[in-house]
Subunit: 504 residues, 2 copies
């Protein structure tokens, strides 16, 4: 319900950043390694240096194509009730992707992730109201040959009713996934009527380079009208200029270049102004994804996205901490809150630790709570009626109590977010319940949720259809670890406390 | 450097909140328990119900006096170099006050705080660049009879070079503290030329009540031109209406009433629109100081303060967690980042856990890092020059590296905040250093800082002057626990890593 988002940059700076980006595209250009992409750029008015493979953009070309980008982007789910559109749905929150490792929920050790982990994460995402989109967070180390991405996507889509988003290596993989989609939809036409996957790609390798594989996928998705968006991830001081304005100008030029190619392939292709801007910790060159600078740059980039009237998004809310401790808490909450106040539409935030290296179940439950808090600040909250408020203040009077007024009783469940993880009782009560820290409580909650049956798994007949089409497919089921089931017998604290309500 | 702060409320709502507050003051009024205050209100045009002690404010009275409030408030330090003025100095951050307990830095147990703890906290605050003001966080359980507040203020002012702020019980205490100030300043005139204490008081007991003691102190400070500000701490659903707009209208009326009294006593008295708005967790009635609603209301209240052209402040960044875990991290960072983006000028944030119950040394060091991150977003950062950025992007070219450009080398120490507590290296490196979580690392850092000599303790001759004036005074020295001194032998990580810089 923020009436007006914070502006990091003075409004007069935005056209200057735009102009500077046009100058970069015209004067410096983009190194485009994909021959067919270079041809398309040339066909539409760009100048191509045939030896150096550098494409230079007359500003007219950029301005003509960028205005074709629609103002919204829809993440489709296999059940359309779970579709999410940015910016219409205000703040849309996704898990973050794609790390190789996972913190084992029982041993606490970091290990390679497997397809069964993805199935469980998908199941968990169903149960977390703050998480709207499953961007598949980990790789599947047990993928059979030729099924690198299928072994990630199948467990995800089999178990998750929310929109699923992922990256693919090449068109061969894409056709495999499209066949999976057709099997779920019940046929080719049914799938293509409403393709319910969202795809990500690395639009640019900073600085100013489009590689072969990602560019191939960008064109593949755009040609076929599949929902897809890129990510820009330059590191200030390494692959981008260090002063923030330089990083911003470069990122904006990079975003424009990739956006122009998508519009050339299919005018009206939906896009997200999506990014992961990091400024390196120049003491060690460390990749400081949890730093405040990522939040500050996200505010500036959200402004640029508004300038272009396109949805903004980002990997925002990462942490460098290897565990779910205070650092993970403050790094994730601080950048995301700045970006939320700055008007970002979409956040890839949930579940990762150690920058982009490891997924953690407990952290995803914590990030769900952070997401709910941010959404609270962004929701169109019913603040109540001013005249009625004055009447109530009059009726209660100086020194009175509001505990059992009609308005209080009417709003006691909705006036404030009622969190699941945050401890709100006194130390003695907390110690009496075992004195677990927030991450340990979140991990118990994750296991309990995953020990419940998954009401949203694909129907057996649909699954049989899929399995008949793919040999050697991973199992893809969300099976709880045996010991987690014992947690179901414990009554969760949040239900217990809700029962003995204050006004009762 | 946020060019324009976020507005929670549409701008047209602000005059409506103001009007509704005027209506509350005119129609409902304030219960004023202090006879002399009632007289002053009556003398200046208010209507006083002599039986019920309710004061009703014609709107002209409110509007005439509130415009007298100056737009700035200065926290004075005994060394004027450390003075801080809101909003001139952008975001000013203070420790939070005044809790009874402290988490022992060695045992981890919660215990009553003592004057020696206050001396150490004061010493620690000197060493934390993100903390501008010492609002004395704890009570002194060892206070001799008749020195309840002196036993807090003396150890604080003896050790802290930054502005010190605190509350007092009554004018007797105030005269004792003024005598302390005169002893430090070297005489009555020297003290009154530049009184270097800031005072807090509870301006209103919500709803709409001014009690005897706090109102006495409000008038005491205003009459003498001492820097002081009140706090409003209504709890939505208990001592304020539950819908947010009702809480906002009531708080605004309460702030106006107390502000009017201060201006009646001395026109031009500096004030802060300062608050701690909480919405109760109606499941249990718990005091949810760490909830996102506190951040959301802080944004709205910062807007009201801008509407009145007065500095805004608040207890923002509290947590309900009993330990320095992920919950403490995300609750503190989320509300403060929302408030910072919403333009709050002053935050009482540092060091508390378990809402307002316990101070923790490690948490103060973490909160210092959060404060530095927030200040980074609010500082007038040098973003660099756009034309120069384009030239550098051109010089480096597509696929190039920025690691050792002139601009990178020039800015590598300043382009990003270099935090002390955040872990940025990989899991193996972290485990190799002991695998401490952020709070444990912060606690080690706190002890190391407190084991160093305090360069800012009062000069022995000044201290002798003080001690000669007060019998039975607590010692007030910051003496490290013996075991902390061993930490000085360990070279701190942040210095070590700074040495092997990336570009070297």
């Amino acid at each position: 319900m923020i009436a007006r988002y914070a502006d990091l940059l003075p409004p007069e700076t935005l056209p200057r950043v735009h102009e500077a980006s046009l100058e970069v595209l015209e004067r410096v250009g983009i190194l485009v390694r994909h021959p067919r992409a270079r041809d398309r750029f040339r066909d539409h008015g760009c100048r191509v240096d045939a030896d150096r493979h550098v494409v230079r953009f007359p500003r007219r070309v950029v301005d003509d194509f960028r205005v074709l980008i629609p103002p919204t982007f829809t993440f489709r789910a296999r059940n359309p009730d779970y579709d999410r559109t940015v910016p219409t749905d205000s703040l849309v929150v996704s898990t973050a992707s794609s790390c190789p490792n996972l913190i084992d929920a029982d041993t606490g050790a970091e290990r390679r992730a497997r397809s069964a982990d993805i199935a469980r994460i998908a199941h968990l995402v169903n149960a977390l109201p703050g998480i709207d989109v499953l961007s598949i967070p980990v790789l599947a180390d047990d993928a059979p040959p030729g099924q690198f991405s299928l072994s990630r996507v199948y467990p995800a889509i089999k178990n998750c009713i929310k929109p699923v988003k992922f990256s693919l290596l090449n068109p061969t993989e894409a056709w495999q996934i499209i066949r999976l989609g057709e099997a779920i939809a019940g046929g080719e036409r049914a799938f293509w009527d409403r393709p319910f996957f969202s795809f990500g790609y690395c639009s640019i390798v900073s600085p100013l380079t489009m590689d072969v594989d990602s560019t191939e996928m960008l064109m593949f998705y755009a040609e076929r009208g599949l929902q897809a968006y890129g990510a820009l991830a330059p590191i200030g001081g390494i692959s981008a200029p260090l002063p923030m304005i330089g990083q911003l100008v470069q990122m904006n030029a990079e975003w424009l270049a990739a956006a122009v190619l998508a519009q050339i392939k299919r005018p009206g292709t939906a896009q997200i102004y999506n990014h992961l801007p990091v400024v390196a910790d120049m003491r060690t060159g460390a990749y400081a994804a949890g730093a405040v600078e990522t939040g500050i740059l996200a505010m500036a980039l959200a402004q640029m996205a508004r300038f272009y009237n396109v949805p903004s998004g980002g990997y925002i809310g990462l942490t460098n901490s290897p565990i779910g401790d205070a650092q993970a808490g403050y790094e994730k909450a601080l950048s995301t809150a700045l970006a939320a106040a700055g008007g970002i539409d979409f956040m890839l935030v949930g579940g990762l630790l150690e920058a982009l290296l490891a997924f953690d179940y407990g952290q995803l439950v914590i990030d769900n709570e952070i997401a709910l808090m941010l959404k609270r600040a962004r929701q169109d909250l019913d603040m109540g009626d001013i005249a009625r408020a004055v009447d109530e203040i009059d009726a209660v009077g100086p020194g009175g109590m509001y505990v059992s007024t009609a308005t209080t009783l009417e709003r006691m469940r909705t006036a404030a977010l009622l969190p699941d993880i945050a401890e709100r009782e006194r130390r003695e009560a907390w110690l009496g319940r075992g004195g677990l820290d927030a991450h340990a409580r979140a991990l118990v909650r994750a296991k309990r949720l995953m020990a419940e049956p998954n009401p949203h798994a694909l129907a057996p007949e649909v699954d049989a259809r899929i399995r008949s089409r793919f040999d050697d497919l991973v199992a893809g089921d969300s099976l709880p670890v045996e010991s987690w089931k014992a947690l179901l017998a414990e009554r969760p604290r949040e239900r217990r406390t809700r029962r003995r309500s204050f006004a009762a």
